[in-house]
Symmetry: C2
Subunit: 196 residues, 2 copies
DNA sequence: GTCTATATCCAGATAGAC
DNA sequence: GTCTATCTGGATATAGAC
């Protein structure tokens, strides 16, 4: 990893923990293992680092939700649906990079229109679009009853997004939260399934 | 309103817009109409103002969700349920004080355990508890099918919480968001109602 | 309880040697 | 590309007059 990339990584770590205004270039430099002035050979300034992080967040978004490849194969039973969904959630919840981007965005969402926009895409549009496709596919297979797939995707994912945000700020509640999530997904499946 | 209260109000306004670290005591003083040093006759320092705001947020929480008086009378038809729920949402969304507390909390939730805790209460526990009671009441009246009322409350309120947060950062989307919310509530009612 | 003046500190950023 | 030394501005906070 180049120094330039290392700076980005450490800056994101600090921004996600203490916010942009709560982080000094000195702190970033220290974590990188250089002195603050050296940092200016890689980036024009603090705001330049911020913008690079935002660009990286957009790239990450594209990787996660830009193509349909990440949907994987459609679940064909209740067990598969639970396992596949819980797997995706557990990954999103624990992947260090995604977690940092999520915490960074939630704190900085009011800083600019661009950040507000990206936050909405990460928190609502991306996940919703992915699950709209999955639910639509399962409706076509007769696994779910016919209904508005976008509405169902929202109802499935919204509680999960809020619980993940809770786990980010209260990590000691993670066990409880995971239980709530699984219970919710099971309930969702039962409500919208033909098979009783 | 005393100067002390005015300081609190203006500080919350600025904190909700630019965050705690993004706000200077000078800016607060200017909005109050005094010079920064005068402010120190009312509060020990910036952090003291922050703590007073957190206290105020706790009081506000108690007013909103502490008693069951705010539930109002139980809706007895689909129309009444939609109207009552949309009314509560519109109020929460537009009340200036609640909006500021919400934006403040979402930005400062990682600053301390206490703030994390209050954020969860505001964003999840309070609303969920209120709607658990309402849904439970409507189940007992036979208006909703028997199911886990807490789970249903989460499924009803979680998308709304996320959409309100979106409206906070993207006010130009409010119309669309309100439509989504109403559609979601109608759908929720239809799914969990006996009457077809 | 408000002001002006000021102390103190720390932030982001630059200059220039190596 | 890294460093030390330094500039400059802005921040929190205090002293003391009115």
């Amino acid at each position: 990893m180049t120094t330039k990339e290392k700076i980005l990584e450490e800056a994101l770590t600090l921004f996600s923990k203490n916010g942009y205004d709560g982080t000094s270039v000195d702190q970033i430099a220290e974590r990188v293992g250089i002195k603050a002035p050296s940092l200016y050979k890689h980036y024009k300034g603090k705001e330049d680092i911020l913008n690079a992080i935002i660009d990286a967040a957009e790239v990450r978004y594209e990787e996660l939700f830009g193509s349909d490849r990440n949907i994987g194969k459609l679940p064909e039973s209740k067990d598969e649906f639970i396992r596949s969904t819980m797997g995706k959630i557990s990954f999103t919840m624990h992947d260090p990079m995604i977690r940092k981007i999520r915490k960074f965005l939630i704190q900085e969402q009011f800083r600019s229109e661009r950040l507000a926009d990206i936050t909405t895409r990460h928190q609502l549009d991306g996940i919703q679009r992915m699950y709209t496709k999955i639910i639509e596919g399962m409706m076509n297979k007769g696994l779910f009853i016919k209904d508005d797939p976008k509405l169902l995707a929202t109802e499935l994912t919204a509680p999960v997004v809020l619980w993940i945000a809770q786990a980010d700020r209260q990590p000691h509640c993670e066990k409880e939260i995971m239980d709530s999530i699984e219970k919710h997904i099971r309930h969702f499946y039962d409500v919208y399934t033909n098979i009783q």
